[in-house]
Symmetry: C2
Subunit: 221 residues, 2 copies
Amino acid sequence: MEERKISSAVIKRLPRYMRFLSDLKLEGVEHISSADLSRRMKVTASQIRQDLNHFGGFGQQGYGYNVSYLLAEISRILGLDSPHDMVVIGCGNLGRALAGYTRFETRGLFIRAMFDIAPPVDHVRDIPVFPMRELEGYLRTHACDIAILTIPKEAAHDTAHRLYACGIRAFLNFAHLDLALPDDAFVENVHLSDSLMQLTYRLKESGSTASGNGSGDSRGN
Amino acid sequence: MEERKISSAVIKRLPRYMRFLSDLKLEGVEHISSADLSRRMKVTASQIRQDLNHFGGFGQQGYGYNVSYLLAEISRILGLDSPHDMVVIGCGNLGRALAGYTRFETRGLFIRAMFDIAPPVDHVRDIPVFPMRELEGYLRTHACDIAILTIPKEAAHDTAHRLYACGIRAFLNFAHLDLALPDDAFVENVHLSDSLMQLTYRLKESGSTASGNGSGDSRGN
């Protein structure tokens, strides 16, 4: 299998290819050239060819890429060819927002249950909400492989370890800390204030903050 | 100014330094060596020295880094030495979750107002929620520099352009599309399904999906 050699930079770009290819499929487009895809995605055609050649180079001279085939291949590489069951820990506004996203399900990613120290509701859509003390019992009878943590920083470490002990190895973490878990656990962090700081940096560099009126003044520097 | 030369990779790492340094400051630690910071952050000491040397190398032989000074410097570089006013577009669960985060405010990032086509509530905490038709009027009298978009894909493009026309140049985008905005606009995307796909990829690679029972079976491959 060639797949082992795909760099993590390429893997990070694959979901974006999926998004564009899914839209193309919805529009009824069956084939697309790297040049056309390049225009849509605002990525160079050579980058696209390089990325997609990593897993077989299915571009055909004169036809371009077969959209459905490429989508299926990328799905398979990303492990989306079989469904994944997920639990959400925390039933606050963020947890409920996630439970409301039906888009995950179109990719075979299903939120099966939510847990909260004090469940504010019984269900979100058709997803049951259980008290935290039932976590281990639930996971013994319902194999899940991804946990989404929407709980405060203070509770995140212990909760992640309980989930790990139940066999969960993949974590989408919104808590504002780095989870220290054994090496066979995978963590994707969503640190929103980090993203905001990238924006404040770029506003500052460009001199276009509202308070600075774009004058590039150097107050405080 | 040396700052212009800092690579975006280093800038992306700075919020994490801030988080660890803030915790150290709370613990009353005044100085820290690159070796100690390395152990805490699980980054090599040489990486830390390299990163922090980019903006002046304030590490003193025998004393290590001055925590408060370093925090202030990183804050300044990230544009956090003056406050930023933000608006949230969309008052669903996600918008409300964001409006509830008081942590942003400790960094000088203030959500001043929320907008929704049909405001479900008047306020979230002390943050007013206005109908979308009042967006332009509000921004004329309240200079804001960051917009957080928690609205469906279909509405995101038009809304982003309305915000741009009002002078907003920085966008934190949760909508599942790439915003096409002029080059002087900065966009940070939070695409949660992309993050989930990084996890499904790694589960597949390691053979540890719940359905696969860690047996590394090759069904469907």
